[in-house]
Subunit: 810 residues, 2 copies
């Protein structure tokens, strides 16, 4: 028996029909709201009980010392961790002086709905106090996707069957108590009371707090205001002390009467230390102005703006999949959070957990460029520009880091908030130089999809050149002229500090060529960076000579030099409880065996598919499939795409579902720490790059759609140079057809057109002339390769059969 | 110009003719006294000024948390660090109420002499107080080599030219103030006030302190007593408080009169926590008894016993080298400290710094088995038995560690005090599995040299079997049947986590064979350990199939698989200030290049010379010589031995001198943290295994002596199965002769004989029949291979020429 999903399968919302005290933290991540600047975890309005309170502001962080039992040269000495900003979500209710608490009295009804089109979290409650007084509560929370500094709560209490005296305490609270975190290397560093109070102020309906982080000295101004409506006699007063602004509303309600509070929050903060009073004043003014503007616009306008922004997003981002409603819901949930994490104005990073939790200390990793930006490039390209400009803004830090490491060019950090390396374990941090190539690749894809020449010529060129310089310095030529990158760590963290990691090498090759191309195209800009013909020639030569390790005997690429001759992992002797392996085996064992945490060669074949023949892809996929344990949530989506490409469509569906449901079903039991934004993005990737077969190697848009027969149709769009390309795929309905696909162009004049490849056939699709093509019948992919024993993904078709049977009442 | 050595060149002592305030810590290490149980740094009697106060008791330590920025499975969570035991060296002098302090008044004379035959540190001072009162002070300090629990100070003050009122405060002081340590990964963890007081007691002339370490709960009882002689009116009284016993002596001296205090110290401690009162009482009684016994014997007896013990040691351990008096002095100084560190009764470890400082946190590393025990095996074999029994006592911990690492057999710790792994950086700690083979090798050598069958059958067999089990588990067979050890770290710490480290593989091969041999010889004992014929067969098969990485093209062995194809280090672009490289380059750079911190292939050729042909040795030596930077003090002695073996006798002399003078000349600027006992032992190794050509592969004693023409003679002895084999080598005096060697046997009856090989010729030498043989003329070794630019050892012949010229007054 499969347990009933926590959230019913509904196409455009995630609904929690009751409150599960064991699922608090997971629900808080699931119901987190964010606009990429402000992130509010889905904590209950009244604060308690909670899994982990969370109010995050992009890049607002504290520093702490990184201490090592045995330190080493250039080990980072200071870490950065996201901290809890003043919490303005808090609204505490007292019913005849009894505090509303879901753990007391009788909870007749408790439901929360995350509306994926409205962009709101709505909660409805019916509660009877221990003394027997019933109330109904409705709260709607919103973090404005159009107003970066604004969040709002609409809070409404109704008396049910007897008169009730209400008191509502609506707080803006700094340095709230935080629970201690578990002893897991992946959990966050908790800093207690990271804020120091600078200023506090109250008016009648709200007030202001100004704080600074204790050590990093980052200032934050938080402003709160309330509009209260209710029966006669409702009162509203506000007090402020250094760490709290509290607005207290009292009302006497007769049965059926309602009191309503519309709470507005405004935040303004700096991501560098400000010592002077002047910037502090400016921050206070900025946060106040944001609240004033929102108040002037009114609640209904906030809601309407939110809806309009989401309508636009869904117009290009929505993926419709027929035949699997659970995945359909999940992919929308996933895309909603990708949008929340990434799709915002301005120069800012996209952390691995978005602003939904403090897992990974709120750090930005390669997840952004390698998993999130590919999705945003085709659904919300302006967000990619902002994220890459953030990398560009940190180029000086990356140059310094390269110098410190005694390398050349730029060495981007493996994990960071403010730009400097915060990785405390260099073999799986600093050595993962591929982050440089991942950034370069994101630049290339963005420029290819948007044609943004201004960006290409400016920050793009800088990023391409400085990342390429690192590869040239790190690499070495062998006696036969092959170019090697030794001692690096690739995506798979179950090996580290290896020679010639295949992924790193193919990505670095692209990086080197792209830098040379960019310099050739913009020689004036390149000259400013000191690039001359000798340097571009050296880049091209290194790229041409790049060694890709291959095992002739086994006929597969090696994940790194010598990988395929390492000992095999004893999967038969590994218990189910032993996963994830990193918590039960030392690196010593993991590193020297053929066990793969996450797609590495498979990711190389996804990102640089042009480097592999179809036969190589099939052999490589089969080989690594049997050795990949997916102890990382980053793996399934890449495996889905390659499974689809090599023709294992059922398996692709299995991995798609695993990626899509990662957080909605808490598959890795880590959702409570925050959402896995890369995995969420992976749902789109699995669908659009997997079943849709989208690729963009060398700036050419190509598709090779193909659906398994049990999924009747797939529809998606791609933002391409200002246009929206609509792709509609249908599966073959009988044994003789593999289905068909229709390409359509939207958003330009009638002459607007897109050049693309369909299963290798060049096509031009214009607004006036949609094109429909049959899907060629698949080449026989052979038997599906097995995953390691016990590690196969759930067979999706079995789940669907089961759900169908359940629907039929079997 | 070469600076005048700090200590004049004198054959049997180390004399410091004056006090250098910039050399305090170095002198404290140099003048440290120890009997392997108690270690007293050469702090001034009065305590101040000091570089680092130090009173150490073998294995007496405190625990602390090892915190990691990013932890991992089986990362050690608790460290151990040596702590300062109650300091009984302190004798403070007040001259007419003015404290004697070398920094005040006038220091007319200050000399310290470490007498290498007497085993005492003698200090003479003439000091004039700021008020103009002159005194003479003479103190002699001794840590008894025959009484493990006893140290003593003979302290004598004489009035010079006017009457003087003296007060002498002689302390036993717990938790004295410690300076903060520098920020260097090799420095120690300082714990402030690690002791808690349990008991204190005073009599008239002394008292007792009982303490416990705060966290590890190890108890220590310290007892002090004084015998005071002086003119009439001398008083003596003692007070005790929880952290101090103070005996105050007052005397009024007329000019020429003397007061003398003979202070006795007794220590008793436990190396495991004791909760009950009973063991504490026993410790107090033990320390008291030690002092009582020493007092009964009297000071002169202590001095005589010390002398007798050293006479016996020098009879077998002394190495006489003609032609280099500076090295002659150094090798005696070195051997004296090797004796002090290792040559004591009982089951106890030999830390890397002995008991001379808190560098490396007082940890025991592979230094013991690989560098110190080979010397002690031939000079003081009973000490080897004790050190190996200590490893055996920790076998249960090593078995647990192997299980924790999910390996088999035993995994001995890379660094420890009490037996558990304390390494906080696993790539250069836990991954250095060769420690297992190093221990096995030490067992083999000890058994071979002593014929101690009882040890072989008992602890020896246990150690051989459990260490071998690890290798079988770690190794893997390749498709062609080769046996590989992947992902380990060898001696060279500038590479880590490599496949098939040559040293590890040849040593593990020996380990596997030795375990099988031992099990065959003692099948009943082996059966108790569960060893059957299948297991011994598997060990022999793995040994026979052991892969030794070799580069056919370059004609050299590879330090590890692929090593010789790594990028070369840019020595030309490396500044002199960039050494040691680990403080100026990240591991990322070091690991992926052909730069060698310390002898690795060269050490393999020393330890397992039978595995290499003479031509291979010559080629390997030349190849690695050019890539070895000697950033570790462990390197020079091995290089000396192999340089001698392949015929570069001048170079061997250079490396000999570097090893011998490491601490006496503070060559690495680290002597202040404690002596490098392995490097000190290396002086003997360089002489006896280098110029003497001693080898013991497969239990066969062989010699291949050969001296450079500028070193006329070398004489040394070897303890061999209860006998003392005397070897006297003379250099060739003209171009036609390569010199000769005489072998003689001492210590048995007239029929006692030793079988040995002389330059490949089997000989039997009996007490009655010494054998003299010519040294065969050398094969032409070719040109001396260069060290990396700027890293060549000092050319010893130039130094000698310079010294000679200086002696001639040039």
């Amino acid at each position: 028996m499969r347990a009933r999903p926590r959230f019913p399968v509904e196409p455009w919302q995630v609904r929690e029909p009751d409150l599960d005290p064991d699922w608090l933290a997971e629900a808080e991540s699931t119901f987190a709201l964010s606009n990429g600047h402000i992130g509010l975890r889905g904590n209950l309005d009244e604060g308690d009980p909670s899994g982990m309170p969370g109010t995050y502001l992009n890049s607002f962080h504290e520093e702490y010392d990184l201490d090592y039992p045995e330190s080493g040269y250039a080990f980072p000495e200071r870490g950065q961790t996201v901290v809890n900003a003043p919490n303005g979500k808090l609204v505490r209710l007292f019913v005849d002086d009894e505090p509303f608490d879901v753990r007391t009295g009788t909870l007749r009804h408790h439901q929360r709905i995350l509306d994926l089109r409205a962009g709101t979290l709505c909660r409805t409650v019916e509660w009877v106090s221990p003394a027997g007084t019933a109330i109904r509560l409705r709260s709607t929370r919103l973090v404005s996707l159009t107003r970066p500094a604004v969040a709002a709560v609409d809070y409404e209490v109704t008396a049910v069957d007897r008169p009730v005296r209400l008191r509502i305490e609506s707080d803006l609270l700094a340095d709230e108590d935080m629970p201690r975190r578990a002893d897991d290397p992946r959990a966050a560093t908790t800093l207690t009371a990271p804020l120091t109070a600078v200023r506090h102020r109250a008016g009648r309906t709200g007030g202001l707090l100004l704080h600074r982080t204790r050590r990093s000295r980052l200032p934050v101004a938080s402003v709160v205001d309330h509009a209260v409506t209710g029966p006669d006699g409702v009162t509203c007063a506000t007090t402020a002390r250094p760490d709290r602004v509290r607005t207290t509303v009292t009302a006497d309600l007769s049965p059926g009467a309602t009191v309503r509070i519309r709470k507005l929050l405004g935040y303004a903060w700096a991501t560098t230390a400000a010592a002077d009073a002047e910037p502090l004043d400016a921050l206070c003014a900025e946060a106040t102005a944001a609240v004033d503007d929102a108040r002037a616009a009114g609640w209904d306008a906030l809601v309407a703006e939110q809806r309009a922004r989401l309508d636009d997003f869904w117009d290009v981002a929505d993926v419709e999949l027929e035949g699997d409603p659970e995945v359909q819901q999940a992919v929308r949930f996933d895309l909603f959070h990708v949008l929340q994490s990434g799709a915002r104005a301005g120069v800012a990073p996209i952390p691995a957990k978005g602003l939904t939790g403090n897992g990974y200390d709120g750090h930005v990793l390669w997840d952004t460029e390698s998993f999130v930006l590919p999705v945003l490039t085709y659904t919300c390209p302006e967000a990619v520009r902002g994220a890459l400009r953030w990398r560009h803004a940190n180029l000086p830090v990356a140059r310094d880091r390269a110098r410190e490491l005694r390398l050349a060019g730029a060495a981007f950090p493996w994990r960071t908030i403010a730009g400097s390396e915060c990785s405390g374990y260099w073999p799986a941090g600093t050595a993962a130089l591929h982050i440089n190539a991942d950034i370069a690749d994101a630049v290339l894809r963005y420029v290819g999809a948007t044609g943004d020449e201004e960006f290409y010529r400016g920050p793009g060129l800088d990023l391409l050149v400085e990342t390429a310089r690192l590869w040239r310095y790190v690499g070495r030529y062998d006696d036969e002229g092959g170019f090697h990158l030794d001692g690096v760590t690739g995506p798979d963290e179950y090996t580290a500090v290896v020679d010639d990691n295949l992924f790193t090498n193919v990505m670095a090759r692209r990086n080197l060529r792209a830098a040379a191309d960019a310099a050739d195209r913009h020689p004036d800009r390149a000259a400013e960076l000191g690039v001359d013909r000798h340097e571009t020639a050296a880049w091209r030569a290194a790229a041409a000579a790049m060694h890709l390790p291959y095992d002739d005997k086994r006929g597969v690429h090696q994940q790194a030099a010598g990988f395929t001759r390492l000992a095999e992992w004893d999967f038969a002797g590994t218990d189910a409880d032993d996963y994830p392996l990193l918590l039960h085996f030392p690196y010593f064992e993991l590193y020297r065996k053929q066990v793969v945490k996450q797609a590495d060669v498979v990711l190389a074949m996804l990102c640089c598919g042009e480097s592999f023949s179809p036969a190589e892809k099939a052999r490589n996929f089969a080989y690594y499939e049997q050795r990949t344990v997916r102890d990382s949530s980053l793996s399934a989506s890449s495996q889905a795409v390659l499974a689809a490409e090599v023709g294992h469509l059922e398996l692709a569906h299995d991995y798609l579902a695993e990626s899509a449901l990662q957080d909605l079903r808490n598959l890795g039991d880590k959702t409570g720490d925050g959402l896995h934004v890369a995995s969420l993005a992976g749902a789109w990737t699995a669908l659009v790059m997997g079943f849709g077969g989208l690729r963009d190697h060398d700036g050419t848009l190509s598709f090779a759609p193909r659906l398994p027969s049990h999924l009747p149709a797939l529809r998606f769009s791609v933002a391409w140079r200002g246009l929206r390309l609509r792709v509609a795929v249908t599966a073959g309905t009988d044994g003789t057809s593999a289905g068909s696909v229709t390409y359509r162009v939207d958003g330009g004049g009638p002459d607007a057109s897109v050049d693309l490849c369909h299963h290798g056939e060049p096509l031009t699709v214009s607004a006036a002339r949609p094109v429909t093509r049959p899907v060629p019948p698949p080449a026989g992919p052979g038997a599906e390769p097995p995953a390691p024993p016990g590690r196969a993904p759930t067979r999706r078709r079995d789940v669907l059969d089961h759900l169908l049977a359940a629907d039929r009442g079997d």
